[in-house]
Symmetry: C2
Subunit: 325 residues, 2 copies
């Protein structure tokens, strides 16, 4: 395990420092916390949008802070939920007086700590609501599904709605609509390594890959012999097609952090062909690193059924570095 | 070596297919060639700007095709110069009647084939000139220096100048000015692997890294025990500071393809601190994957001295996916 970092326990803090120093026109840092907010502060009258969770998923979530997307990102330690007091700081930094929506990925720690923070904010007179994203079809039981790359579509669409002046209830309803319909599944040929322990999320030999991985180094639901990406895409799409009917969709081929962009476009080439052959119409396409897992070599596919409303919010301007439009 | 590809010998073709399918509003493909051009064709009266080389450096070079940057990118096989007839196709696709400038990285094959293509184009009545980028200070002898991440600044600045209506001579003079002053140096803790042979560019054990690597899997100029990125940054900056005097600069921390974004921001954190302590003023900052080497895990640092003219071209709008402004 080789890492390009300083002291492992300062990784998140130094990353946040680096982000704010590199992009001062975009980012501020809540003093004393690993919380990134908008450089120009909370927007008066706009619904605030906050997300976050463990770090290691960059550009998620700080890369989605900016006009048209998030107002604050709470950066926990690597693969570790941020504490409620950190989330509270994010809420306060995003509050423009019209309420704050939290976008939470479905992990027990995140859900608990974001809900606790919402209660703390409520006690301070800030109206807070939240939506939980659980898009990972690798997990059969819907309640146990993890929030993965589909979360980025929730950020984008809820962010655009908030920027357009929608109320907290309206932004939440849109976020719920995306969360209810977006589906993802991922795989990896190489694991990621925990920065402090140096341990891999799982051990694979040269002829193995994991299908149905999570984004925190979790093993997949199935270990298989490696094959070419043509067959891997079939495998993942078989699961996704069971839950997303043919029609107009947005598709995302998301890299897990250590995957070359050339491989993501080759992967997309197969994804597009197979989806079109199966009767899907690819209205919007996204290829790149959106929700990563440190240096993991792999990818995920996300499908979101589109209507006019969702498409217009997907296409709305965004200043966020991770989703610039 | 694990690759997320189909047949290795179709990698570039399928990548190009994927890019054009994913971004039809931006990209066209020259029929029958791995050459990406502008979807809306050559701009009448504008100087055309063409770059390219071997593939494996994505987003370079196709990711820089778009309004404000390149008009065509010629995608050779992985780490292999494109043939003169491919470059000629790129030139023809970029020619708007006002001449075409080729941005060539300093590799014998690239220089030879781009020059040959320029002669072929000349014979067809297209005025073509070229600029060679050789920014890699790892190589002591200036004539032998490789073109690496600094090339992206040449694309951006020459592209903005061309978009603003400058003549071929003026665009070339600006490109030469950037090429004459930009300096880069890179390192890696893990090599990249050739897609067809499966062989790594170099073998490193768990305690070793390469300083002064190229972008085609070449070994570095020095092999050292791994250390934290704080010390690695000192090492690279020692070389760069010898050639770029303190003053206003643009700095780029560029990932080599397999490096998590978190590590690039931690690296940037140290780069910024050390440069500022040494009297440099960081006017523009770029952190991300700009000029990669497949899945190599490492980074490079690029410095470009800035004046008002270069800064304004750096800041000009760009529709290119790899440098969106």
């Amino acid at each position: 395990m080789k890492k390009l970092i300083g002291e492992a326990n300062e990784l998140v803090s130094q990353m946040v420092e680096g982000m704010v120093h590199a992009h001062p026109e975009l980012y501020g840092r809540v003093e004393g916390f690993n919380v990134i907010c908008r450089a120009d502060g909370a927007k008066s009258g706009k619904v605030g949008l906050v997300s976050g969770g463990g770090s290691g998923h960059e550009p998620a979530h700080a890369g989605y802070v900016g006009d048209g997307m998030l107002d604050a990102a709470v950066c926990g330690e690597v693969f570790t939920s941020p504490t409620p007091d950190m989330v509270l700081e994010g809420i306060k930094a995003a509050d423009g007086g019209n309420g704050v929506l939290l976008v939470v990925k479905n992990y027990a720690g995140d859900v608990m700590n974001f809900e606790l923070a919402a209660e703390l904010a409520d006690a301070e007179g800030i109206k807070v609501d939240h939506v939980v994203v659980a898009d990972d079809v690798a997990i059969t039981n819907k309640e146990d599904r993890r929030g993965v790359a589909g979360t980025v579509f929730v950020h984008k669409i809820a962010g655009a709605a908030a920027a357009s002046g929608k109320s907290l209830d309206e932004v939440k309803a849109l976020a719920e609509k995306v969360a209810a319909n977006v589906r993802s599944m991922g795989m990896a040929v190489e694991p990621c390594y925990m920065p402090v322990s140096g341990k891999p999320g799982f051990d694979l030999n040269e002829e193995e890959m994991e299908i149905g991985i999570g984004i925190h180094g979790e093993r997949g639901v199935e270990r298989k012999p490696t094959t070419n990406v043509d067959a891997i895409v079939d495998d993942l799409l078989d699961h996704l097609k069971k839950e997303v009917s043919p029609g107009e969709v947005a598709v995302m081929v998301n890299g897990m952090g250590g995957t070359p962009l050339s491989e993501l476009y080759v992967t997309y080439h197969f994804v597009a062909k197979k989806l079109e052959d199966a009767g899907y119409s690819l209205k919007r396409k996204y290829v790149g690193n959106y929700m990563t897992s440190l240096e993991m070599h792999g990818f995920s596919i996300t499908l979101l059924p589109l209507d006019e409303e969702l498409t217009s919010y997907l296409d709305a301007p965004s200043a966020a570095l991770g989703f610039k439009l």
